[in-house]
Symmetry: C2
Subunit: 115 residues, 2 copies
DNA sequence: TTTCATGTACGACGAACATCGAACACTGCT
DNA sequence: AGCAGTGTTCGATGTTCGTCGTACATGAAA
């Protein structure tokens, strides 16, 4: 459970970012994270196997879309909104609005925060 | 040389659009078309084989990014800016700005318009 | 230390993709 | 009719992707 590295702010590449966001499940994850709050990812609910979710999270992280923090045995994920906004102004907002308009990623939800 | 159909305005799907734009060559084509003017595609210069360019243009068209018009033996391509802006406000502009900022698609150029 | 929970790595599979060259089809000109 | 220009389609090939199940590693709790 290591190597939770993300690209440096300046190294987020556009094609990779768009590729990461071209999957409905990943777009759904981003929508859940859109409010800026961090989520533990047992909290994320998507209709895919655990290993598949792990893969999606890794893809998002490596594309620079999210950041992952480890605490004990669990991991928390959040959007890298500042970095994204700094590098590609307005893009994230437009993307999120588009996802909502297009109803993409509706199948991804979240459980209530851990008690 | 037929079947130059594009999806209806309302049917442009976000994941597909992003997938189409996750390739540097296609992003480069979009950058060339960004001024809204139509281009004959003998005019487009990309370091790929003719059939590959045809494939990319088809991908863009089927994702709803561009429109293709045939006139005699040649085809002309242009951005569907209105439809895109209507469906996903601000997205295209942010994407184009991002592509410029990230210097993506610089390898795609154009010849001067036919005399 | 044993056990449980959580996430990762690995191997596999089919599907989709980028790319090429070659063959085909259509249009227009001679 | 024949030819040249232009774009599409067709394999072929190698890569990447989404998905799964299983096995492994790590940290916490009993």
């Amino acid at each position: 459970m290591q190597d939770h590295s993300s690209p440096a702010d300046a190294e987020i590449a556009l094609p990779r970012l768009l590729g990461a966001l071209s999957d409905p499940t990943r777009l759904g994850i981003v929508r859940v994270l859109a409010d800026g709050a961090e989520r533990g990812w047992g909290q994320l609910r998507a209709p895919v196997a655990k290993s598949t979710l792990s893969h999606h999270l890794k893809t998002l992280r490596e594309a620079g879309v999210t950041r992952t923090r480890q605490e004990g045995t669990r991991c928390y994920v959040s959007l890298r909104r500042e970095a994204l906004d700094a590098r590609f102004p307005g893009l994230l907002a437009a993307l999120l609005a588009a996802a909502v308009a297009d109803n993409v990623g509706e199948h991804v939800g979240e459980d209530p925060p851990a008690l």
